[in-house]
């Protein structure tokens, strides 16, 4: 079974807007029912790609134009994460190989942004280490030990965002080849801040985080 048939694609096309609306309104029974229905149309990974990923990306982008609130993104990300976890399928990447991407909150006690991005990446089939709230030193050590080469850092407070410079410096001193993706409120208010702190890119929203992480994973040698 696959999504190669016209009927399957048509059915999924009709489910997609309803599923997205169910996520936005946090209608859990409806979202679950639509997802179960979709699973009858193709293999789980294809359904994730065709239903969950575009829904979350659309919701993530809608936050930036003000039409969706942060709470809706968080709840829809968590819901999709649960739906995907219930499938008990292997994450993308090489089987039995630990992930080489990680996410962390630097210094701040504000964890929501990280939780949103973490949920959305996992719901999109991307495995990653979750370091939670860490200091610069803890983060650098863990990245080194886990051989991480894609690091996502979330901050809410400006001083924490500025600390990313120290992370970059310490990783450079160890000769670690790594790409750093940053996100959070301070970056939205200063378009050049990500560059100032030595990051390789910024995500303006959770959809950016999915797209950039996937792109970087695809560019690995």
């Amino acid at each position: 079974m696959s999504l190669t048939t016209d009927n399957s694609r048509t059915d999924l096309g009709s489910i997609l807007p309803k599923f997205r609306e169910a996520l936005e309104t946090y209608d859990v029974p409806l979202a679950e029912s639509l997802f179960q229905h979709a699973l009858r149309l193709g293999p789980p990974m294809e359904i994730i790609e065709a239903l969950i990923v575009p829904s979350l990306q659309r919701i993530g982008c809608a936050w930036e134009d003000g039409s969706i609130a942060l709470s809706q993104i968080y709840l829809s990300g968590r819901l999709c994460e649960r739906l995907v976890e219930n499938l008990h399928i292997a994450n993308t990447g090489h089987v039995n190989e630990p992930p080489r991407q990680a996410i962390a909150v630097l210094n701040d006690f504000h964890l929501l942004g990280k939780r949103i991005v973490h949920s959305m990446l996992r719901a999109s089939g991307i495995a990653l280490h979750d370091y939670g709230r860490v200091t610069v030193e803890e983060l650098v050590d863990r990245v080194f030990i886990d051989k991480v080469d894609i690091l996502l850092i979330s901050t809410l407070m400006l001083p924490s965002a500025l600390k990313i410079r120290d992370v970059r410096r310490a990783l450079d001193e160890r000769g670690t080849e790594i790409r750093i993706l940053v996100g959070g409120a301070p970056f939205l208010f200063d378009d050049s801040l990500w560059h100032e702190v030595g990051a390789d890119a910024m995500g303006r929203n959770a959809a950016d985080a999915i797209q950039i992480t996937r792109q970087w994973m695809g560019e690995r040698p």
Binding site: Y26, P159, A185
Partner: protein, 353 residues
């Protein structure tokens, strides 16, 4: 020339005073003035009194701002404040670790809580120095937004959606505290209260949820505060809920740099005075010329007819913003903010030609 108080009151009446009022909401800069680290600075009322008075003289702001830091209220509930060397303190581990704790939560006694007393002493000290010449702005976190620090944003969203009775109970506790805390600041000499309510912004929750929750809470709470209030969304968007905010009883709204100032002013006209919306994060790198451009642009978009106070968009200027920038903003207000705004009329006429 008007006093700052006269200037602000005229502005709030949607009339043009002698110039556009300017609120430079600097908190931590007082520590720099006194050569203290931020934690030491906020450990004594006398430091903050001295710091605020020095900042007033230096930057010529139209208000005093005895706001310490946002986690102070969580500290009053038993939480821990985590200081950093170059910015506002963070709130430590949430004081509400699980939802069950809400049932036994009680509001702190404002008169017997040391961290709150320091703020009241500060307000009292400032009032004794300036009398009624300069507005003193007290600050409260809204009962609706405080739980973001009390229990963490994620757990709080889940509480709102999944445990309505506990949510109501938490709001009752927080409302009781917020009203007592605001009124204590007014009694100590604050002229007005800034009610920070970022969670109510459509950036954070959808409007229909706000209308059922944050809006009702703001209406109830502000009605019990015995003085004028500003509602501030701390950089969050406000345009889609401006009609709702106008019903809360607030006289002023703090607006985001993410929205267009002329549209905000039009939406608020005659109902709410607009406070904002210079970008505090970007301000760190502004040249004198850029300061002038930003100030002139804001005044052009929102200055006419009063009802506009120039300020940053977050309600707290970042520690990293240098003196030169704040001084240049003041100079630009002096140059371009004098009413009547003849230069504005001339530029409109030129545009028409």
């Amino acid at each position: 020339m008007m006093t700052s108080m006269q200037r602000v009151l005229t502005c709030l009446g949607h009339q043009e005073p002698d110039r556009v009022p300017m609120f430079l909401l600097a908190t931590m800069h007082g520590a720099k003035e006194l050569g203290l680290d931020i934690e030491t600075y906020f450990s004594r009322a006398q430091h903050v009194i001295e710091g605020q008075l020095r900042l007033l003289k230096k930057y010529r702001s139209d208000c005093l701002y005895p706001f310490f830091y946002a986690p102070l209220e969580v500290e009053a509930f038993g939480g821990r404040t985590v200081f950093v060397e170059n910015g506002p303190p963070n709130s430590g581990q949430p004081v509400i670790g699980n939802q069950e704790q809400i049932s036994s939560l009680i509001p702190p006694d404002v008169s017997r809580t040391q961290c709150l007393s320091r703020v009241l002493d500060t307000i009292h000290g400032l009032k004794s120095k300036v009398g009624d010449t300069i507005p003193i702005i007290g600050v409260v976190m809204s009962p609706f937004s405080l739980p973001v620090m009390q229990m963490g944003f994620d757990h709080y969203i889940e509480l709102i959606h999944g445990a309505p009775k506990l949510f109501d109970r938490l709001m009752a506790v927080n409302e009781s505290f917020c009203v007592a805390w605001a009124n204590a600041q007014l009694a100590a000499g604050a002229t007005a209260i800034c009610y920070f309510d970022p969670l109510s912004s459509p950036t954070n929750i959808p409007r229909d949820l706000f209308q059922r929750t944050g809006l009702q809470i703001a209406k109830r709470t502000l009605a019990k505060i015995h003085g004028p209030a500003a509602i501030h969304l701390a950089s969050g968007r406000g345009m889609p809920i401006m009609d709702d905010l106008a019903q809360t009883g607030a006289a002023v709204v703090g607006v985001s740099a993410l929205e267009k100032l002329d549209e905000l002013k039009k939406s608020c006209a005659g109902r709410l005075t607009v406070l904002g919306n210079l970008n505090g994060v970007a301000m760190r790198h502004w040249s004198a010329r850029e300061c002038e451009r930003q100030v002139k642009d804001a005044i052009r978009l929102a200055g006419r007819g009063g009802g506009f106070i120039l300020a940053d968009n977050h309600g707290e200027i970042p520690f990293q913003v240098p003196d030169e920038v704040l001084l240049a903003i003041g100079d630009a207000v002096d140059r371009w903010g004098r009413y009547p705004l003849h230069w504005h009329e001339e530029s409109l006429a030129e545009d028409a030609c």
